[in-house]
């Protein structure tokens, strides 16, 4: 009897792993196709796309597409710009949105409910639909810099950063998370005479690792993949991000090998970053998601 149930368990394990692997294949094959294709000359890539060879590193394999991609476009510059814009926005967004959420979750003040309702309503506005009014606005905004007051934000990093620092979804995530923190902690700190800011910094933030990670990932993905807005506001190459750079590869006769190489170049770092942080990512999304 024991022997049979042992076998049974073994069989079930095999079935389980088979199912897991099949699903994994479905989720990963397009990305495998991308990376494998980036190693092939365009002609071969297109011919191979018609068979299972598309997923195998066979034939004329080299890194030539990568060298060519660097020759065609300032890839390093685009990646730098994207990382800079994304990084600054994510950090600023975490600070601004968590502070706002703190005020919404723990502090009572005049106008709070109205402000929160309006902010949540903005979740419904797709960015594409306000892009043109925003462009008209951004082209006339003042900025105080080293050379005094200048007008118009085009061709800068700030025009790619500032409009995206505060958004409804990030604030919403923080508010939901904060509401589930034990309120007594805050009360106790107030009784002891701690300032609001001290409570925010010393009590709430240290407990907010998971939600900070979630908000950071979401913002990172949105910012790194920006396309429409940078096209409208960056006329100078020195400010262009990766998704605009992708357009450099869409010439009349498309060099698909180079396109795949560029796609791999801009995607693999994000994947690697993600894999590195995946435990924290999943744990953090897991612990915030529940409070819808």
């Amino acid at each position: 009897m024991a022997q049979i149930s042992q076998d049974n368990r073994g069989l079930r394990l095999v079935v389980r792993y088979t199912v897991l692997c099949l699903i994994a294949a479905i989720f990963s094959f397009p990305l495998i196709f991308m990376v494998i294709s980036s190693l092939k000359p365009s002609q071969q890539l297109l011919a191979d796309a018609h068979s299972f060879r598309a997923l195998l590193p066979v034939g004329d394999i080299s890194l030539n597409n990568y060298f060519d991609a660097f020759k065609r476009a300032p890839v390093a510059l685009f990646v730098f710009n994207s990382v800079l814009v994304t990084g600054v926005t994510v950090i600023a967004s975490l600070a601004v949105c968590s502070a706002a959420a703190f005020a919404f979750a723990f502090v009572k003040w005049k106008g709070r409910d109205l402000a929160l309702t309006v902010i949540l309503a903005t979740l419904i506005v797709p960015f594409e639909t306000i892009a043109i009014p925003l462009l008209l606005e951004a082209s006339k905004l003042p900025w105080i810099g080293l050379d005094g007051i200048t007008w118009g934000w085009l061709n800068s990093y700030r025009v790619q950063i500032v409009p995206f620092i505060a958004d409804g979804l990030t604030i919403y995530l923080f508010v939901q998370y904060f509401k589930d923190l034990p309120g007594e902690l805050i009360e106790a700190a107030r009784v002891e005479g701690a300032s609001w800011f001290a409570i925010y910094r010393r009590v709430v933030m240290p407990l907010s690792g998971p939600v900070l990670a979630t908000a950071a990932i979401l913002k990172f993905l949105v910012m790194y993949n920006q396309y429409l807005w940078p096209i409208m506001v960056t006329q100078e190459e020195q400010y262009r991000p990766v998704m605009v750079g992708l357009q450099y590869f869409f010439q009349l006769n498309r060099a698909w090998g180079e396109i795949m190489a560029y796609l791999s170049l801009i995607t693999v770092p994000v994947l690697a970053f993600y894999l590195y942080l995946q435990k924290a990512f999943i744990a953090s999304i897991a612990s915030t998601g529940v409070k819808g």
Binding site: L20, V107, V118, T122, I130, G183, E187, Y227, L271, Y274
Partner: protein, 357 residues
């Protein structure tokens, strides 16, 4: 909660002020500008100043009419038959194009129609493409919301077991989420490729050639389905993780109690797991719905709304008119219509999923 410890107008405004100011400046102000444009004839490119035109953009987009046509009769009053022996109807285009007898239908086109009695009843729309876009968007939302939510839950249940290496699978299932939707759309265009794309090859191989090769994106009956599948593929990992979090908050003691009572697997899910996931379900549903209404990038990269308008969507139309056809006022009106639609849907969702105390 509203004790003296929690009341502070100054702190509230100081801490929330920056976020409120930024959102006012960069979301709400442009949105109201767009609302303003929708009541004018504002162009993207024009030497002429915009003029106030009232509701004309909305009338143009949403205008509908119903028309019943009776078959033609000859002098004797008998019904005229066409080549196929069917009753012959008057030509619709003669009625809707510059016909002084029917000014209310001028410029309209057939949206859909059905036979009624001897004749045919037509529902006419001033903008058939936009009507199609609205219907397509709703189809996308209605299919994607339960499908993506359900599959994500299935994956979460699958991945929520103690197995060696389960983290690797978790990571793989989440991977598509971190890839840009534009990149994903480009890759899947290759995969869906009509005659000899990877997908057709796989299907043909596993069915030993029984499944015919399909032009997934070029066929009006499969294009939206193909886009739905790809969209779910890309986003399901994210919602899987949200479900997973919900699963992990359910107390193990409940499951132990269930086991003692001899509950079946289904009963365990029905009476322990599912009730514990209520809040999660609301979050997943709301987020998927909001995202689904914004369907744009996939369409822009893969089909441009075709073939035969089978993948037109509301946001794609807003962009197509506002930028492509330089008609900011119509694009803005579409945005406002979308806002009203999504607002209504989310209010309904909120009502349906409210806590029943």
């Amino acid at each position: 909660m509203a004790s003296k410890f929690t009341q502070s107008n100054r702190t509230g405004w100081l801490m929330a002020g920056p976020a409120i100011a930024l959102i006012l400046a960069f979301v709400i102000a442009p949105f109201f500008l767009a609302v303003g444009f929708s009541f004018t004839n504002q162009r993207l490119v024009s030497p002429h100043p915009a003029e106030f035109t009232g509701l004309s953009n909305y009338r143009q987009l949403l205008g509908l009419g119903v028309l019943h046509l009776d078959p033609l009769t000859d002098a004797a009053g008998a019904v005229v038959l066409d080549d196929q022996g069917q009753p012959k109807l008057p030509e619709l285009r003669k009625i809707t194009r510059k016909n002084p007898d029917y000014p209310q239908f001028d410029g309209m086109r057939e949206w859909f129609s059905w036979s009624s009695g001897e004749g045919r009843t037509y529902v006419l729309a001033r903008d058939v493409v936009f009507m199609t876009a609205i219907v397509n968007t709703f189809i996308f939302v209605l299919v994607v919301a339960p499908l993506q939510g359900g599959l994500a839950l299935g994956l979460a249940l699958l991945i929520n077991q103690r197995l060696r290496g389960i983290n690797v699978f978790r990571a793989i299932y989440f991977m598509p989420v971190v890839v840009s939707i534009v990149v994903v759309s480009l890759l899947w265009s290759f995969i869906y490729n009509q005659n000899d794309g990877i997908l057709n090859n796989i299907l043909s191989a596993i069915s030993f050639g029984a499944i015919p090769r399909i032009d997934w994106l070029g066929n009006p009956s499969t294009a939206m389905g193909a886009i739905i599948f790809m969209s779910v593929w890309q986003a399901v990992g994210f919602h899987m993780v949200i479900w997973l979090s919900g699963l992990q908050t359910i107390s193990p003691t409940l499951y132990e109690a269930g086991a003692i009572e001899g509950a079946s697997k289904w009963q365990t899910f029905r009476y322990i797991t599912w009730p514990g996931l209520r809040n999660t379900a609301v979050l997943v549903l709301v987020v998927i719905t909001m995202q689904a209404f914004g369907l744009f990038s996939q369409i822009d990269v893969m089909t441009k709304g075709g073939p035969l308008d089978s993948t037109q969507t509301i946001v794609f139309q807003a962009i197509q008119r506002g930028y492509g056809k330089q008609d900011i006022s119509a694009g803005s009106a579409i945005s406002v219509i979308l806002f009203v639609i999504v607002l209504s849907v989310s209010l309904i969702q909120r009502y349906l999923t409210r806590e029943k105390v």
